[in-house]
C-alpha cells in the first residue's frame, strides 16, 4: 500500500494552490477530498485485485495437473472462497466506488461529495475489513472452505476464520451503504444549475441506480451473515437443520442479496462504457433515455430472479418457470443497451485508442458471457451445468471481461485528467492485447470443461480434463502478467509523460473535460452553469 503515498493528486495540489491540508501519510488518513479518496479507493481496489489474482493463480497451478501438488484440499477451498470474496468485495466494488468518487462530482459540477467526512470513513473501513478477511488464512482451521456463497451447513461448521469473514462482510457492507448514501445525496442535491437528471452523463445514472440497489440489498446480506453468526455461537437455528432450521432458507436470503449484487457490479461498468464508446465514436450516445430506462428495468428485474441460482434445490415447477422466464426477460433491457452501444458506433468516426479497445473487448466478451447466462437460465440445462466449470466460465466472462475491462477502459480514459499526463499508448495496447488474448485462453476452455462435466471448487479432477486445464492455467498466468503491464502504464503515467490538454479526447463532451488537466485539487468551487 506504500504506493498510496505516491501523490497522484500531488500535481493537483499545486494547481489548486491550497496548501493548508496535512502532508505525508496524514494527508491520506485525514483527507475529505473526493479526488484523494477516489485515488485511495482505486489503489485499494488494485491491491486487492493483485491479492485475489495471486489466489487465482495458486488455484490454477494446482489445477495444472490432476492429483494434489501444491496445496491441501482444505487450503484449495479456502483460496476459492477468498478469491471470490476478495475480488467482489475488495476489487470490483471498491473500484467502482473509486471511479464514482473521482468522477461524479466532476461530471455533475459539484465541489465535492455531499458528506466528505463520511466519505473518508467509508474508505478507511475497507483496509481493516480486508485484513480481517485475509487473517482467516492464518488462524486455526483457516479461512472458510464454503466458497464465497457461505452456504450452511458447511459455514456453520467452520472454524473461527468464518467469524472473521462474517465481521469483514459486516464492515464492508457498512462501508458500501455509507458510500451509496453519499453518492445518492451528491447526485440528487449537488448538481450544477441546469444539470437536470436527464442531462447527466450515463455513468452518474448508472451509479445512482447502483447505489439504491446497494442500500436495498447490502443490509439483507448483513442479516444473512448475522443469522449465520448467531447459529454458530448463540444457539439460534435459522439454518441449522438439527434445531429445526432450513439450509435452503439461507440460499434464498443470500441470493436475494446476491442477484442484485451482480448488477451492482456490472451497472457502473455499463455507465463507464457508455462514456467511452460515444467519445471514441465521436457521436452522442444513441438512445440516451432508453439507456436510463434499461438501467432501471435491469435494477427492478434483478430483485425477481434470485432463485435461478437455486434451480436444483427442489423448487416447485411453477416457481422454476417463473424464475426462468423472469431471468430471460433481463436479456431484453440488456439487449437494449448492447444494441444502443452498437448503434452509437454505427457510422461513427471511430479511433482505437486503449479505452476504446477495452470498450470493444467489453462489448464482445460481456455479450458472450450474457449468452452463456441465457443458456444457464434454462432450468433443464442448468440442472446439467449447476456447479460445473461452465458456470465459472460464464461469470468470469461477465465479471472480468465485463466489469474489469470497463475499469481498464475508464482508467485509460481518465488518466490524463487525473495525472495531467498522457499514458503511453503503445504500452496500453500491449496491456489490452495481452489481457484480451490471455483472458480467452484462460476462460474459454472452461466452457468445454463444464460441458464435459468437470465440477467447480474441487482441487482434483479426472484425467480426461487435463489438456484444457493446462491451456487454462497458461492463459491465467498470461492474463496475470499482463496486469503488470497495466501497473507499469499507470505508474509511468503518474510519474510523467506528455502533458495532457484539458480535453485530450476530441469526442468527449461531459463537464470534467472543461477543467484543466490534472483536475485542480478543489474543482467547481462555484458551480458551472449547464446550458
Amino acid at each position: 500500500m506504500s504506493s498510496i503515498t505516491q501523490p497522484i493528486g500531488g500535481h493537483a495540489d499545486v494547481a489548486g494552490g491550497h496548501e493548508h491540508h496535512p502532508s505525508g501519510i496524514m494527508r491520506w488518513i485525514t483527507t475529505t477530498n473526493h479526488k484523494d479518496i477516489g485515488t485511495m479507493y482505486l489503489w485499494f481496489s488494485f491491491t486487492m485485485f493483485i491479492v485475489g489474482g495471486v489466489f487465482a493463480l495458486t488455484i490454477r497451478s494446482e489445477l495444472f495437473e490432476p492429483g494434489m501438488q501444491i496445496v491441501t484440499p482444505e487450503r484449495f477451498n479456502q483460496l476459492i472462497t477468498l478469491h471470490g470474496l476478495v475480488m467482489i468485495f475488495g476489487a470490483l466494488m471498491p473500484g467502482a466506488v473509486g471511479f464514482a468518487n473521482w468522477m461524479i462530482p466532476l461530471q455533475i459540477g459539484a465541489p465535492d461529495m455531499a458528506f466528505a467526512r463520511m466519505n473518508n470513513l467509508s474508505f478507511w473501513l475497507l483496509p481493516p475489513a480486508a485484513i480481517m478477511l485475509l487473517l482467516g488464512l492464518f488462524v486455526p482451521g483457516g479461512a472458510p472452505e464454503t466458497g464465497w456463497t457461505l452456504y450452511p451447513p458447511l459455514s456453520i461448521q467452520q472454524g473461527m476464520g468464518m467469524d472473521l469473514t462474517i465481521f469483514a462482510i459486516h464492515i464492508m457492507g457498512a462501508s458500501s451503504i455509507m458510500g451509496s448514501i453519499n453518492i445518492i445525496t451528491t447526485i440528487l442535491n449537488l448538481r450544477a444549475p441546469g444539470m437536470t437528471l436527464m442531462k447527466m452523463p450515463l455513468f452518474c445514472w448508472s451509479w445512482l441506480i447502483t447505489a439504491y440497489l446497494l442500500i436495498a440489498v447490502m443490509p439483507v446480506l448483513a442479516g444473512a451473515v448475522t443469522m449465520l453468526l448467531t447459529d454458530r455461537h448463540f444457539g439460534t437455528s435459522f439454518f441449522n437443520a438439527a434445531g429445526g432450521g432450513d439450509p435452503v432458507l439461507f440460499q434464498h436470503v443470500f441470493w436475494f442479496f446476491g442477484h442484485p449484487e451482480v448488477y451492482i457490479i456490472i451497472l457502473p461498468a455499463f455507465g463507464l462504457i457508455s462514456e467511452v464508446i460515444p467519445t471514441f465514436s465521436r457521436k452522442p450516445l444513441f438512445g440516451y433515455a432508453s439507456m436510463v430506462y434499461a438501467l432501471c428495468a435491469i435494477a427492478i428485474l434483478s430483485f425477481l430472479v434470485w432463485a435461478h441460482h437455486m434451480f436444483t434445490v427442489g423448487l416447485p415447477a411453477a416457481g422454476i418457470l417463473f424464475y426462468m422466464y423472469a431471468t430471460m426477460m433481463i436479456a431484453v433491457p440488456t439487449g437494449v443497451k448492447v444494441f444502443n452501444w452498437l448503434a452509437t458506433m454505427w457510422r461513427g468516426s471511430i479511433t482505437l485508442e486503449a479505452p476504446m479497445l477495452f470498450a470493444l473487448g467489453f462489448l464482445f466478451l460481456f455479450t458472450t458471457g450474457g449468452f452463456t447466462g441465457l443458456i444457464v437460465a434454462i432450468q433443464p440445462i442448468d440442472v446439467q451445468f449447476q456447479d460445473t466449470y461452465y458456470v465459472v466460465a460464464h461469470f468470469h466472462y461477465v465479471m472480468v471481461a465485463g466489469t474489469l475491462f470497463a475499469f481498464f477502459a475508464a482508467t485509460y480514459y481518465w488518466l490524463p485528467k487525473w495525472t495531467g499526463h498522457m499514458y503511453n499508448e503503445t504500452v496500453a495496447k500491449w496491456h489490452f492485447w495481452g489481457s484480451f488474448i490471455f483472458f480467452n485462453v484462460a476462460f474459454f476452455p472452461m466452457h468445454f470443461l463444464g460441458l464435459a462435466g468437470m465440477p467447480r471448487r474441487i482441487p482434483d479432477y479426472a484425467q480426461q480434463f487435463t489438456n484444457w486445464n493446462q491451456v487454462s492455467t497458461v492463459g491465467a498466468f498470461g492474463f496475470g502478467l499482463s496486469q503488470l503491464i497495466f501497473l507499469y502504464a499507470v505508474v509511468s503515467c503518474i510519474r510523467g509523460g506528455k502533458p495532457a490538454p484539458a480535453k485530450p479526447w476530441d469526442g468527449a463532451t461531459s463537464l470534467e473535460w472543461t477543467l484543466p488537466s490534472p483536475a485542480p485539487y478543489h474543482s467547481f468551487p462555484t458551480p458551472p452553469v449547464v446550458q
Partner: protein, 178 residues
C-alpha cells in the same frame, strides 16, 4: 443545496438500510409461510391417497433401510422387505431402542430410492410425522402405513424406503424444542 436537505436524505436512506436489515429477518417467516401455502416441506403431514384401486397384476418390492445419525439408539425394521401390489394399504413396523443412559428425542427423516418413487409413495401414518422421545432403555414399536400409488412407472420394480433418525438438539430432557 442546503446542508439540511442533505441531512434529511441521509436520515431517510439510512432508515431504508435499517428497514432492509429487518426485511432480511422478515424473509424467515415469509419463507415458511410460502412453503406452507405451496405445500412444500410438509414432512410431518399424511399424504392424500388418491387411488386405492389395487393393481394385482404387478408386485413391487419395498426394502426398508434404517439408520441413526450419531445417537445411542438401535433402529431396525421387523421385516427387511415386503412384496406388495400397488394400491394395497400396507403396514410395516420398526423397532427403536434407546440404549443410551438418558432420555433422547429423535426425528426420523425418510428418503427414497429411486428418487422419483418418492411422489408415488404415500404415507398415511408414520412415526416420522412426530418427534419420538424415548426414556433411557425404552423400546418402542412404530408403524408406517402406506400405499404405493398405482401410477408408479412400470420400470420401477423395487423401492427402497430409508429412514434416518436425527437427535433433536437441545431437547435431551424431552421438552419440545424450538
Amino acid at each position: 443545496m442546503s446542508e439540511r436537505e442533505n441531512r434529511r436524505l441521509l436520515v431517510r436512506l439510512g432508515a431504508v438500510a435499517v428497514a432492509m436489515f429487518g426485511f432480511g429477518y422478515a424473509l424467515v417467516p415469509l419463507y415458511y409461510t410460502v412453503c406452507d401455502a405451496l405445500g412444500l416441506r410438509d414432512l410431518g403431514r399424511p399424504d392424500a391417497v388418491v387411488n386405492t384401486q389395487v393393481d394385482a397384476t404387478r408386485t413391487v418390492r419395498v426394502q426398508f433401510d434404517t439408520n441413526v445419525r450419531s445417537m445411542g439408539w438401535q433402529f431396525t425394521a421387523l421385516e427387511r422387505t415386503a412384496d406388495i401390489h400397488p394400491g394395497a394399504v400396507t403396514q410395516a413396523v420398526f423397532r427403536v431402542v434407546n440404549s443410551s443412559g438418558r432420555a433422547v428425542t429423535g426425528q426420523a427423516i425418510p428418503s427414497y430410492a429411486p428418487r422419483l418413487a418418492g411422489e408415488y409413495f404415500r404415507k398415511v401414518e408414520c412415526f416420522c410425522f412426530q418427534r419420538q422421545t424415548l426414556a433411557p432403555g425404552e423400546t418402542r414399536l412404530m408403524p408406517v402405513v402406506f400405499v404405493i400409488d398405482p401410477g408408479l412407472p412400470h420400470e420401477v420394480a423395487t423401492i427402497t424406503l430409508s429412514y434416518t433418525f436425527f437427535e433433536v438438539e437441545g431437547t435431551g430432557d424431552g421438552q419440545t424444542g424450538a
